[in-house]
Subunit: 139 residues, 2 copies
């Protein structure tokens, strides 16, 4: 697992001052496998930090996204969530239970897309939707 010190270093490298709040938020999003929303990050850290506002969480997450440190997911159109996993991966959302699952993706998946020649692609998100294993059984 990545250490706190490494995360701090990463923020500095990105030109972001590692305040207490920022480091905590960064750590939380990077380590979470839950794709938290801003609200979830806020609820998870407010006690631990003593002082934290939802505004700061929003501003900080935006800062991280703009710096390319984390990703914003819009797989569910009713809320935005965040992903600190930087490996090449796709997302599956269960239409029943709402769960979001990470899926591995081969590196050359862009070869499946026609017409990218003239374009400078620097971000790719693959969203799959349907029923997860458990919800499929229930039906």
């Amino acid at each position: 697992m990545v250490s706190r010190a490494e995360l701090k270093e990463e923020l500095i490298k990105a030109g972001i001052r590692p305040s207490v709040q920022r480091l905590a938020i960064f750590e939380y999003v990077r380590r979470s496998c839950q794709h938290p929303t801003a609200e979830v990050v806020y609820e998870a850290l407010r006690d631990e930090l003593g002082s934290l506002s939802l505004t700061t969480v929003y501003n900080t997450l935006k800062l991280f996204v703009d710096a390319g440190l984390i990703m914003m997911l819009t797989i569910d159109d009713t809320f935005r969530c965040f992903d600190g996993n930087r490996s090449n991966h796709a997302h599956f959302r269960c239409n029943d239970c709402g769960k979001i699952i990470d899926l591995g993706m081969k590196k050359d998946f862009l070869s499946m897309v026609e017409g990218v020649e003239g374009l400078a692609v620097n971000e790719a998100q693959l969203y799959l939707k349907g029923l997860c294993g458990e919800c499929k059984k229930k039906k």
Copy 2:
């Protein structure tokens, strides 16, 4: 091009009564290559129809999405837009000019994703972001 009568038939088949507003909205989204937002659909049709409200546009688009007749895109997190193109395709959004471009996609692109075995996937959206040809030149 699809005729009005065919579009009407398609609505009926989906269990949706083809009112004047619905048919006009359906036709517009199906024929547009512009990925319109609700607002854009509204502006485009209000004069032609004489009577149309933004509420109706929102409700109708939702109706169509739920019926699987059109797709909602969340490639831009600041607004939702709609796509009536039912072929297998990816979307590219230019971070500079905001343009959204359709890209062809090979049918077996799911083979690039690992771990879909237990899942029932019934929708897939691939979003690519970066700079389009023109904006790339300008830089």
